[in-house]
Symmetry: C2
Subunit: 213 residues, 2 copies
């Protein structure tokens, strides 16, 4: 069984514990010859997956998370299914922050992902076009443009997430999850989170089917 989490930038595949991140332009039918069980937050990429592979199944209808949130992304739902209490931070194209208490989703919010965040500056002025200084610890007040922008990006992300986490456990996932997790003492990095949520949902669906028989 192959699992696929279709994001806005990448296809994330889970094949027997092995995770790969594929850009749409690199997707081809020779990558996998098994059935693919997927969830998707991007219609266009979803179409591409379905066109490329013969046997695919959309798991969306079996990803059930108790929540009052209207329009919660299926990947966020899947990740939240893995924990009973705590905060999920999924740092991909966007950074989503979701709070779970007693297995119920309490709400959540969205920050731009690191890449889009930094690109917003370059769109304001060519003078603000730069990359993140990954060596910077955002502690001292910056004294040049590159650090002033890196500080702005990192400090705002870190303080906002920290404000939500408080003394709770926080589970980080996504492409920038590992990098961001290092700024939080309570952080646990787990790149399998969304896939585990998908597997939990499949097992629960099978369980329900067994009970119906």
């Amino acid at each position: 069984m192959v699992l696929c989490d279709i994001g806005n930038t990448h296809f994330h595949f889970w094949d027997n514990g092995q995770i790969t991140h594929i850009l749409p332009k690199h997707l081809n039918k020779h990558l996998f010859d098994q059935e693919i069980y997927y969830i998707s937050v991007n219609k266009q990429n979803e179409k591409m997956l379905n066109k490329t592979f013969k046997t695919t199944y959309d798991l969306e209808s079996i990803i059930n998370l108790p929540t009052k949130y209207v329009g919660l992304g299926v990947d966020r739902k899947a990740a939240c299914l893995c924990i009973t209490n705590g905060v999920i931070v999924d740092a991909g194209s966007a950074i989503t922050i979701d709070v779970v208490a007693n297995s119920k989703h309490q709400g959540g919010y969205i920050l731009p992902g690191l890449s889009e965040f930094i690109q917003a500056y370059g769109r304001i002025s060519p003078a603000l076009k730069t990359n993140i200084n990954f060596g910077l610890e955002p502690i001292e007040l910056p004294l040049n443009t590159k650090n002033a922008i890196t500080y702005g990006v990192l400090k705002s992300i870190i303080l906002t997430i920290q404000n939500t986490i408080g003394s709770q456990r926080a589970y980080f996932t996504g492409g920038d999850g590992k990098y961001l997790a290092k700024f939080f003492t309570q952080a646990i990095y787990d790149e399998t989170l969304v896939f585990r949520g998908m597997r939990i949902s499949i097992e629960r669906a099978l369980e329900r089917r067994r009970n119906q028989k």
Copy 2:
């Protein structure tokens, strides 16, 4: 005397206490018939001003602020000249935050302006294309996409600026300065800040000239 603060999006004019914000496409020679003293952070807009009006003077060389910051925008310098101690928040196309202690600039950083910040989401996915919910107080965890994005934008800006301000006085200026100031108890909103810094610089330059004679 007319003062002009040339930004990335607008020309900000000060004419005898009257402030107007003009988009580049609305700039024309009939707006003012006096000499224009300007500062600029945008080369293209600066060229346009110089082409449109006959008599213009660039004040950059007389805007002197003690700082170790390399590449500090001349508008940020001008605003900082107005205070002895405290924090300047200029919320325009970008939001700049600068700290002054004993009339010396201590450093600062940059956040995307509200408009560019919210547009970053729409670039990640059409599903995240929205406007700020200006009625939202970012306190409770959001339960829909529009609020999840508004919360992300506002909470990250507010917490980061609050972290810098601490118990200091904060002076807000710029197009979104008035809106943002209401989230801070120590905030003073002053739309004339940059212009006052320009006038202080002119007076100091005249003073120096008088002393040389």
